[in-house]
Symmetry: C2
Subunit: 157 residues, 2 copies
DNA sequence: GGATATGGCACTAAAATGATGCTGTTTCCG
DNA sequence: CGGAAACAGCATCATTTTAGTGCCATATCC
């Protein structure tokens, strides 16, 4: 349905929260409590981000997580890839080639164009840093694009 | 999982096929046969596109579908909206406000930035016409944008 | 050594999607 | 006229994906 998973949402919330308190080690309990979300589920997301190297963990009684990198260095694409994989858009693009998947592939009329769309989306995420997610000036639609340091659509616009 | 549904894929295949044979009335049977996909499922997608006004149908023994508009006039966003709805990305953006959904909403740190991402994706689809899907010269981003007029989907949300 | 944290899976429940069934209506054509 | 072929509109079932928990191990502080 062209939607982020909850895991991704939780991970993003956690990342933003951790970015706000950079340097500190913050526990899952605290973050989940702040936003009233499932402690366990948030924990799973942060675990995944930790495995992906975006976070560093500290165990033990005063344990928790902290950012492994500066917010400017983390691309949204990396986050999403860690939490729900790269977007595929069509079934023939999935990692495990799924040869059994699609009979159309040899002469599929939409494969290539859709890949272009996907690349555009991916590029947009690559060019959006965690920093950009943080200092969000509540931009409204219609206003000139608030995204300065990234040019999403080189065509027209 | 950030992926188009099969219904959308089928619909797109049908549209591209119909665009190739503009003016003619082509049956679901023929299209499904060409690409070896489920006749029924393709039928459902084309029905939906017909209800959305993108196709015109002709019943009866030599019936089928044909484009209701020129390929230049129909935006990918319109197609996707007809087949799987507008992308929401997060659960708080779904149409039926789902008040019960998210406790975070009042002070959600990621809501607004994610909406920006969604708008960018949507805009990309708005600016991609069916025509652009057809004559796919493996264009790289930077190509001239094909669609100027007709925004069939004045989004409120 | 106990309390509190993360680490890593496996597992169940719920939701979305994929696919099909069924009945009706329209149109052609013999 | 009457049947075949095609779309129209739902309803229904099966499959896949996602959301959410369970369980136990390990690490750290006190
Ligand atoms: S080959 Fe075409 S129809 Fe098959 S999965 Fe890829 S995009 Fe879809
Ligand atoms: S308010 Fe924030 S956490 Fe809640 S659904 Fe929207 S984006 Fe996700």
């Amino acid at each position: 349905m062209l939607q982020f998973t909850k895991s991704t949402e939780y991970g993003l919330i956690g990342l933003v929260h951790l970015a706000d308190r950079r340097g500190e080690v913050v526990s899952v309990r605290e973050i989940a409590g702040t936003y009233k979300i499932s402690r366990r589920h948030l924990g799973e997301s942060l675990k995944a981000l930790c495995r992906a190297g975006l976070l560093k963990s500290q165990r033990g009684v005063h344990g928790g997580y902290r950012l492994a990198l500066e917010p400017e260095q983390v691309a949204l694409s990396t986050i999403v890839a860690a939490l729900e994989g790269e977007p595929a858009l069509t079934s023939c693009e999935t990692d495990h080639a799924e040869s059994a998947g699609c009979h159309v592939e040899p002469h599929c009329p939409i494969r290539s164009p859709i890949q272009r769309i996907r690349q555009g989306l991916w590029r947009q995420m690559e060019q959006t840093s965690l920093r950009a997610l943080i200092d969000e000036p509540l931009a409204l639609p219609g206003a000139p694009s608030p995204i300065e340091h990234l040019n999403l659509f080189p065509r027209g616009n």
